[in-house]
């Protein structure tokens, strides 16, 4: 039980893919103009991440090291294509407003990073939990920044434009670091930890 709580703390806060690892910034900055867009892309990314972590983990024993990357790419690309079709069929308005960013989930490095760092060396159950936690962390950040920009844009239009995206993300990271600082957590927790991403 404690371990699950610990995992959530990692995914949502200490290791948040957007806030701390700074992965998947292109969609994060580009689509977070409204709460609904953030939520849409957040849910799409979350579902791809959960299923891709599950599949990568389930097949990890048969996959030789040399061909793992093409296989991750295959799995992730197929899942994203399915997600795109599902969005087109059941959420056409959201699909139009997210446009090309749904297919571009393929290039979200947060997904391949979780496949490589976690799912390829852990059992299926805990890989799915990892995908869920990391995806939720990413989705919550998208939703927060989307809602923030939508609200601020009522008084300051710049919030909707590209600079507004950078300012909002910077603000979110600053707030997180300030909270961490106040809590007196260790400094290493507040900075990106690239060493965890390489083999």
């Amino acid at each position: 039980m404690n371990r699950i709580a610990e995992r959530f703390r990692d995914g949502l806060w200490r290791d948040n893919p957007g806030l701390v690892q700074l992965l998947g910034l292109c969609p994060l900055l580009a689509v977070t103009t409204t709460f609904v867009n953030g939520l849409g892309l957040g849910i799409a990314t979350l579902s791809v991440l959960v299923v891709s972590n599950g599949l990568v983990s389930a097949t990890r024993r048969w996959i030789r090291n040399e061909i793992r990357i093409p296989i991750y790419v295959l799995i992730i690309a197929s899942l994203v294509t399915c997600t795109e079709l599902i969005f087109k069929a059941w959420f056409p308005a959201l699909d139009r407003s997210l446009g090309i960013f749904i297919p571009l989930i393929v290039t979200n490095c947060a997904i391949v990073a979780r496949a490589e760092v976690f799912a390829s060396r852990n059992p299926v159950g805990s890989s799915i939990v990892d995908g869920f936690v990391m995806g939720t962390g990413f989705a919550l950040l998208l939703v927060t920044i989307g809602a923030f920009r939508e609200l601020v844009s009522m008084v300051w239009l710049l919030a909707l434009l590209p600079p507004g995206a950078f300012f909002s993300l910077a603000l979110a990271i600053a707030v997180k670091n300030a909270i961490d600082g106040r809590r007196g957590e260790k400094r290493e927790d507040a900075v990106p930890q690239p060493t965890r991403l390489v083999r």
């Binding site: 030789r64 296989i71 197929s78 599902i86 069929a89 056409p92 090309i100």
Partner: protein
């Protein structure tokens, strides 16, 4: 890598590719019908705004006419046309066409032309252009597409039917010339088609009853 391990890797890749392809194929089967219905609904919803300023008293959707491929309209597949009439006389035609030379794939457009050959509106239905640059041709993102309203083949004259960079009269977009260039060309070709095939489009001139079938 030894031959045996290379074969094994190849087989693993092939097996996973087969599984992934099946997954995509199944999802496609499951969603195909709904996607088509959504596409049609979006098209029908976009028809009215493209007819801004045209007065007509006939229904739009039941006036659909399909010109089978190949035809002279821009785009690859069958061309779909809607006609509206005012007191029995042709008021305007709506063309669903594709600009083939978009930056990333075809751009599906709705072009409205009134009975005199002037554009009533241009609306981008589907595209894959670059977000923030080429996607400004979308009606909701900027008013770029409104510059076509009221223009016709004589206004501007033929050389003017190009973006400014090519010596024409239409604005390009900062950082994106290819997308507007493709759309200007498709709109011009639609007008040219209309000019030559007005009778084909409206059936017998002035007759509100459309012919059942049009073949070229």
């Amino acid at each position: 890598m030894s031959d045996a391990s290379m074969t094994r890797s190849g087989l693993t890749l092939a097996a996973i590719a087969a599984v992934c392809t099946t997954l995509v194929a199944l999802t496609f089967q499951l969603t195909d019908e709904r996607i088509d219905a959504n596409r049609q609904a979006w098209l029908e919803q976009s028809l009215q705004p493209v007819l801004a300023g045209v007065s007509f008293d006939s229904g739009i959707i039941d006036s659909q006419l399909t010109f089978p491929s190949p035809n002279a309209l821009p785009g690859a597949g069958d061309a779909i046309i809607y006609r509206v009439y005012s007191a029995g006389a042709p008021a305007a035609a709506l063309f669903v066409v594709s600009a083939r030379e978009g930056y990333s794939g075809p751009i599906k457009l709705l072009v409205g032309v009134d009975a005199d050959g002037a554009v009533t509106g241009v609306h981008v239905l589907e595209h894959r252009e670059t977000p923030g640059l080429g996607d400004q041709v979308e009606t909701g993102k900027s008013d770029w597409a409104t510059q076509f309203r009221g223009r016709s083949l004589g206004d501007p004259v033929s050389a003017g039917w190009a973006v400014r960079r090519d010596g024409g009269e239409f604005d390009q977009l900062t950082g994106a010339t290819i997308t507007p260039r493709a759309i200007v060309k498709a709109v011009r070709e639609t007008l040219e088609y209309y000019a030559e095939n007005r009778i084909l489009v409206f059936g017998v001139s002035g007759d509100p009853a459309p012919p059942d079938e049009v073949s070229r």
